[in-house]
């Protein structure tokens, strides 16, 4: 394996963004830790097959995403509201409510967004990945990723605006 790709340096470089992505998806610390560890376990056993060191990041995120989808298939789907498309007018969250947003509220709301939009939106907000990388990670075309991000953000903001905590903050 390439010297820059020894296990410890890969962990040191990517464990934090991977954990953030895992937590964005699972919303539970223990599950996020498991998902992160599982991803690095797979890296430890199969990472040597990777021929392009520059692809480590997308390889890890793709692996994590696959693992997440695999585990989700074994669970009950998250209940979520059917949302209309972004074409409808976007509700505006008041500045006061925006200032009081917290991570629990945001992630709980992200969990209610259509599943297909959750991963693109999380990767978008984590800002570690370009659109091209997000497309590679999620294994969908670039245009699809952009569209899903836009729609996902629209849904997220609409749900946030309707969130009881946001309503309370607005009063």
């Amino acid at each position: 394996m390439d010297q820059g790709l020894d296990f410890e340096s890969v962990v040191a470089r990517f464990y934090a963004p991977l954990y953030q992505f895992a937590f964005s998806l699972t919303h539970v610390e223990a599950d996020a830790c498991d998902l992160t560890q599982q991803t690095f376990y797979i890296w430890g056993t199969k990472g040597h097959q990777l021929r392009e060191p520059a692809k480590v990041k997308t390889w890890l995120f793709t692996t994590m995403h696959r693992q997440f989808l695999e585990s989700r298939r074994r669970q009950t789907r998250f209940p979520h509201d059917e949302l209309e498309s972004v074409e409808h007018a976007l509700p505006v969250i008041t500045p006061q409510a925006v200032r009081q947003l917290d991570i629990a509220q945001v992630l709980e709301t992200l969990g209610r967004v259509d599943e297909i939009y959750q991963s693109p939106v999380a990767l978008f907000y984590l800002e570690d990945c370009s659109y091209k990388e997000i497309a590679e990670i999620l294994e969908v075309p670039l245009g699809t990723v952009k569209s899903r991000i836009s729609r996902g953000i629209g849904q997220l903001q609409r749900l946030l605006a309707e969130h009881p905590a946001t309503r309370r903050a607005e009063k």
């Binding site: 296990f7 464990y15 500045p95 978008f124």
Partner: protein
């Protein structure tokens, strides 16, 4: 581009997105021209920043990195032998050992098979159980002709005493691909057992055996219930065997 279309694009705006993305650049340009859109975009920017800030606050629990590395090292220790290179090396060692053992055994086997002891053991077995008399005669010249016809050694020399023994016939056999002549004798014509032969002389090309007795040396041995003596003479190896004692056998040499 309508205001709604611009909003859809601007929802996912990240600084720098307009570079290389004409649609995003157009949406930003429209913001400059449309005050309402600009106000929405500014508000949107604050919302996005707040949401982004929430994501940035996600931090891994203390010790996660160390735990990942520790578990990896434990897995490596537990499964080092499953590594493809280790398995390949083990397989290679096993293969080389097997090949070496095979050749050693083969050489040893070949060596043992060509020994004078192996010849003696096989011929005694032949005398006691296996052979079928091909020619029954007391005439030595007939025996020589028969053996010559069978491409077996026929120009053998009998010890003087053995030359006076009662010939009963002959047969041929093979050992390690070489023809062997068997000349049969009856020591005592009044043998109470009724056996047709009770003494046997085997003659074979000396070169076939890897450790024949040196010329002039007589090598005696007990094999099964036969007493045997072996010697070399004129490019041939001789094996004489009979039931009874070695001393009795010596009388015929």
């Amino acid at each position: 581009m309508t205001s709604q279309e611009a909003k859809e694009l601007l929802l996912r705006y990240r600084p720098g997105d307009e570079i290389g993305d004409p649609e995003m650049a157009a949406a930003l340009a429209q913001c400059e021209r449309d005050a309402a859109l600009r106000a929405w975009f500014e508000e949107q920017g604050r919302t996005q920043s707040a949401i982004q800030e929430c994501f940035r606050k996600i931090t891994p629990p203390a010790g996660l990195k160390e735990q990942i590395i520790s578990e990896h090292q434990a897995a490596l220790r537990a499964e080092w032998w499953r590594h493809p290179r280790v398995l390949a090396a083990a397989a290679l060692i096993i293969l080389m050992t097997a090949v070496t053992m095979f050749w050693l055994q083969r050489d040893r086997g070949q060596s043992n098979e060509l020994s004078i002891a192996s010849f003696r053991m096989r011929m005694v077995k032949e005398a006691l159980r296996l052979y079928r008399m091909e020619l029954e005669t007391g005439d030595l010249e007939q025996i020589r002709r028969h053996l010559a016809n069978r491409q077996a050694p026929a120009d053998f020399n009998l010890p003087e005493a053995l030359g006076r023994a009662n010939l009963t016939g002959c047969a041929t056999t093979r050992w390690q691909g070489a023809k062997v002549s068997l000349i049969c004798f009856l020591k005592d014509k009044s043998n109470p057992t009724g056996a047709k032969s009770d003494m046997w002389l085997f003659v074979m090309d000396r070169a076939v055996v890897k450790d024949p007795p040196p010329p002039g040396e007589r090598r005696t041995a007990k094999e099964n219930r036969l007493s045997t003596v072996m010697w070399s003479l004129g490019g041939k190896v001789y094996l004489l065997g009979t039931e009874g004692s070695e001393a009795e056998l010596q009388k015929w040499l």
